[in-house]
Symmetry: C2
Subunit: 364 residues, 2 copies
């Protein structure tokens, strides 16, 4: 086994999830990630934890979806819910035999599935969870890289100095936590205003996402005004939405468009009421992720991007006891901020053309 | 996909487990059985059930075992227990990348694992469950057959006329249900007497085992007297015990031996108190299984064999409300009855040299 696989497993268990003796650990990983699955089970055993491998196989799930006679009848599966309720730690490893495997499933079936699984996801989010990527050949192909180069890309990103990264990101957390009004402008296609008053900003230093490298918060649900063109492709269950465009009024999407797969975008927005509102504002801060790989786990962390997600807000961003935007979906979309772009917080420019105000080369 | 894989999935869902709309189905299968996993998920979806694929990967589990610092500390994993409690149907597919994968795990670690998982197994046995085999190359190799020939062997055995087989077996069930004292003699190495008074005999027509093809019951725990030489190898977690010998007094093993891996046999018997008593008497009746393949799921069904299991008794064999022999293990061992052998029930010969009294060629 490649020693970097074992290091990956150690980072997952010791940094991201801090697994302890006696923990009931679910390793949710497809067969394309066999090496990492075995390394995780072994390392969990070394730490006195009980690993249990479940395979959320997209292709098996797809088979079930395609066969379901009436997707509207899909109910929350009690066995999956019970497992999620009982787990202490949930490690979800992404890896594909074919990233387009889900493309044959109709959007409305996917939406019905997402609704049926909403409570399962809520329970998983209540565990100590992490989402990571194994560099399978299909994922390398999707990134337009050789498998060897992609392995190096993934394992370098995973093996970062997370303590230093946390300090770097904290400067942006402090700005956002003190701020209220955010204004995002990119070229003449994106001009969006939203409030983050009262919200908390999370410093993602690879606890829930490995690699990490962003700061994120939740917009005040009805505060979002303006329009945004997501100039990076949105890959959603194997389908690529290009040039997604959203216009917001009073926090709600009132107009949408796309140059490719507009119907997929429409189906996302139609999942439920919360799918038409923003659940997340995220700012990428990981300078080691230096290229787009058509994989949101990495792309959204890039240093000169902003991402917005329609759908579910994360509880950690919300004031204690307050309900955030609810939805069965959470779909991130990226705006490239490298050129002709800025972010203002309460009228002060905090990033221009991808450079933060606390970085060298920042122009006021 | 080989159409026989889909037929296998249909037999599992429609004959063995009778899956219905709304059932929460666990498909427990390793990656060596990918085709069947996908076929099962698809067919479950077609029937309106919710399939969930978990991979009881022996190699991943082994990794965790090998790494466990003190196997005696292993506790029942709460997440696995919760899943088993919530499942309606549990389909366990055997398939290996290497049948010897578990051979590196010390017997005492395996025993500790079995004890820690006893309540999980109890819950699985409370679902509608089935154990079946996928013809993976490593399993074909273990059977000393080409993969193609082994596929034919497995899928022929699975695709049997189970209604006709049930009728054939019922004749033996009727004999055993009416009987009390069983006497098993083979050559000069096996001479065993046991009581089955008050016990029920189960007609295994491929409900819990696919293929099925045996009848089995539970001996009265303290009734077993005499000695038995198991002339077929016992394959236990990748280790082969040869010429296992047991002598019983008052139902308990008081002497044991083996020509190979005697320590593995000793470790099985030392698992707990119940591991030294018989939990099952089974009689193979499947004439389509015409060769030994070093796989108990098939071997124990052969037409001219008897098998005995040390350890756990099945509740279905016991009088209502009565506790049978309890143990964390259930290890089947086979006696070849083809030559110089007979089975008597209450003094009447019911099988001689492998031929039942209701079959052609039987000699009183």
């Amino acid at each position: 086994m490649d020693p970097r696989v074992r290091e990956h497993a150690e980072t997952i268990l010791d940094h991201s999830t801090e697994v302890e003796s006696g923990d009931d650990v679910v390793v949710s990983a497809p067969s394309a990630a066999e090496d990492l699955t075995i390394a995780l089970c072994e390392a969990a055993g070394e730490r006195g934890a009980s690993p249990f491998h479940v395979s959320f196989r997209k292709d098996a799930t797809r088979a079930a979806f395609l066969a379901a006679t009436d997707p509207e009848d899909l109910e929350t599966p009690g066995h999956e819910l019970a497992l999620a309720e009982a787990a202490d730690v949930w490690i979800h490893v992404k890896a594909h035999d074919n990233v387009a495997d889900m493309s044959a499933v109709p959007s409305e079936t996917m939406a019905a599935f997402n609704r049926a699984h909403e409570s399962v996801r809520e329970e998983i989010l209540d565990t100590t969870w992490v989402l990571t990527q194994y560099p399978a050949p299909a994922n390398a192909q999707n990134a337009e890289m050789s498998t060897e180069a992609y392995e190096e890309f993934v394992w370098s990103a995973v093996g970062k100095d997370w303590a230093a990264q946390k300090d770097h990101q904290q400067r942006m957390v402090d700005i956002l936590d003190a701020g209220e009004e955010v204004h995002i402008v990119s070229g003449d296609t994106t001009d969006l205003r939203l409030s983050i008053a009262g919200m908390s900003t999370i410093n993602d230093h690879a606890k829930n996402n490995l690699p990490g490298g962003e700061v994120f918060t939740a917009p005040v649900a009805d505060s979002v005004e303006g329009e945004v063109l997501f100039d990076k492709p949105v890959v959603h269950d194997g389908r690529v939405i290009e040039d997604a465009f959203l216009r917001f009024e009073g926090g709600e999407v009132v107009e949408h468009a796309a140059s490719k797969n507009e119907s997929v975008l429409a189906d996302i927005l139609d999942t439920d009421e919360g799918a038409r509102r923003l659940g997340e504002l995220g700012i990428g801060m990981n300078r080691d992720i230096d290229r787009f790989t058509y994989n949101m786990l990495f792309d959204e962390k890039m240093g000169d991007t902003v991402h917005l997600a329609v759908g579910r807000a994360y509880d950690a961003c919300l004031p204690e006891g307050e309900e955030g935007n609810h939805s069965a979906v959470h779909v991130d979309m990226i705006v490239d901020m490298a050129d002709d772009s800025f972010i203002e917080v309460d009228g002060e420019v905090v990033q221009r053309n991808g450079t933060f105000r606390f970085e060298d080369g920042f122009e006021e």
